[in-house]
């Protein structure tokens, strides 16, 4: 889901960049209000976890690859605003250092994976786990559903951003200037592979780690909300 340089045109990059700036500003403000110095290591852990989970490319045999983001888990543990900051750091390092995701697409990629994904995941989890105790099995199921749905919502956003490019930018001969695939191809491709494969990976990662933490570190499920 890491959109590279050259797939989105300048106006799309600007709009999504402009959309993510106020999100970062509010995230900083909210996290500043609630973050305690002893929670900083968890913030770093969240960013590092998301970074390394994204290195686990999962193949669709003979087809394409993709991966989980790990961002839903970070949102459940740290809250969506802190997760936004953590995932943003991971995405920026990926783009600058490893060329994974474009420089011009940082706004778009952060919008999809550091904003839409953790917020969707967090609120789906909240809605399903509503009123349950921190150690209840319902929370594990809520985590799985939140992981599955949130990465698909984020993938749909990416598919939409890819898909509108041929409409926005083409030369006189009808050749696309940026992403050449329209909504009829990009949206089903991005959504399909996440519905079939990568969504399940995000669900599994989120639910398994949450289940482990319920047993091994239940205090993380009570505190640390920012």
């Amino acid at each position: 889901m890491h959109i590279p340089d050259g797939y989105l045109g300048p106006s799309t990059c600007s709009v999504l960049g402009a959309a993510i700036l106020p999100v970062w500003a509010v995230a900083s403000k909210n996290v500043k209000k609630t973050l305690k110095a002893k929670q900083v290591p968890m913030l770093a852990m969240g960013a590092a976890f998301s970074f390394v989970i994204m290195m686990f490319n999962v193949p669709i045999p003979g087809g394409t690859t993709g991966h989980a983001v790990g961002g839903v888990l970070v949102a459940l543990l740290l809250g969506p605003w802190a997760a936004c900051i953590s995932i943003t750091v991971a995405l920026v390092v990926q783009a600058l250092l490893f060329g994974d995701g474009g420089i011009t697409a940082i706004g778009a990629n952060c919008f999809n994976m550091a904003f839409v994904l953790p917020f969707a995941g967090y609120y789906i989890y909240k809605a399903i786990s509503f009123n349950s105790t921190p150690d209840s099995p319902r929370r594990v199921i809520a985590a799985a559903i939140a992981g599955y749905l949130a990465i698909n919502i984020a993938a749909a956003c990416a598919g939409f951003e890819f898909g509108i490019q041929p409409l926005l930018y083409h030369d006189v001969s009808g050749h696309a200037l940026y992403c050449p695939y329209g909504l009829n191809v990009a949206l089903p491709a991005m959504l399909g592979e996440h519905l079939l494969v990568f969504g399940w990976v995000e669900a599994l990662v989120t639910a398994l780690v949450l289940k482990y933490l319920q047993k091994q570190a239940p205090e993380l499920l009570y505190e640390g909300r920012t």
Partner: protein, 111 residues
């Protein structure tokens, strides 16, 4: 053991296992992620390289492209796996520093 210590150990295990994310796609002959093709792959897919894509795709030269060392593209999987692990360590090191810096800023009490 403190929880944070356990989590860092878990992260270490993930780092060591990370080359699976390189080896499995290779083994199952899976191509690039959708929408992350290079210019030559694009040529094969749609018969031309979109002009804007050609220009912008050369905008940034990452120091460790695709989680490998420059010039290692032709090396075998064991070399690339090693580079992958080094990338994970370097990436996490930098991320930790950056978040630590942000954390410092955000936990600073305004006078």
């Amino acid at each position: 053991m403190k929880t944070i210590t356990k989590l860092w150990i878990g992260l270490g295990v993930l780092i060591i296992l990370s080359p699976l994310g390189l080896i499995l796609p290779e083994h199952f002959k899976a191509g690039s992620a959708w929408g992350e093709w290079g210019a030559d792959e694009m040529q094969k897919l749609v018969g031309y390289v979109p002009q804007g894509l050609k220009k912008l795709s050369e905008l940034w030269n990452a120091p460790m492209p695709d989680y490998a060392f420059k010039g290692w593209e032709e090396n075998g999987l064991q070399y690339l796996s090693f580079a992958y692990i080094v990338s994970a360590i370097v990436g996490i090191g930098i991320i930790t520093l950056v978040v630590w810096g942000i954390g410092k800023l955000l936990t600073r009490k305004d006078d």
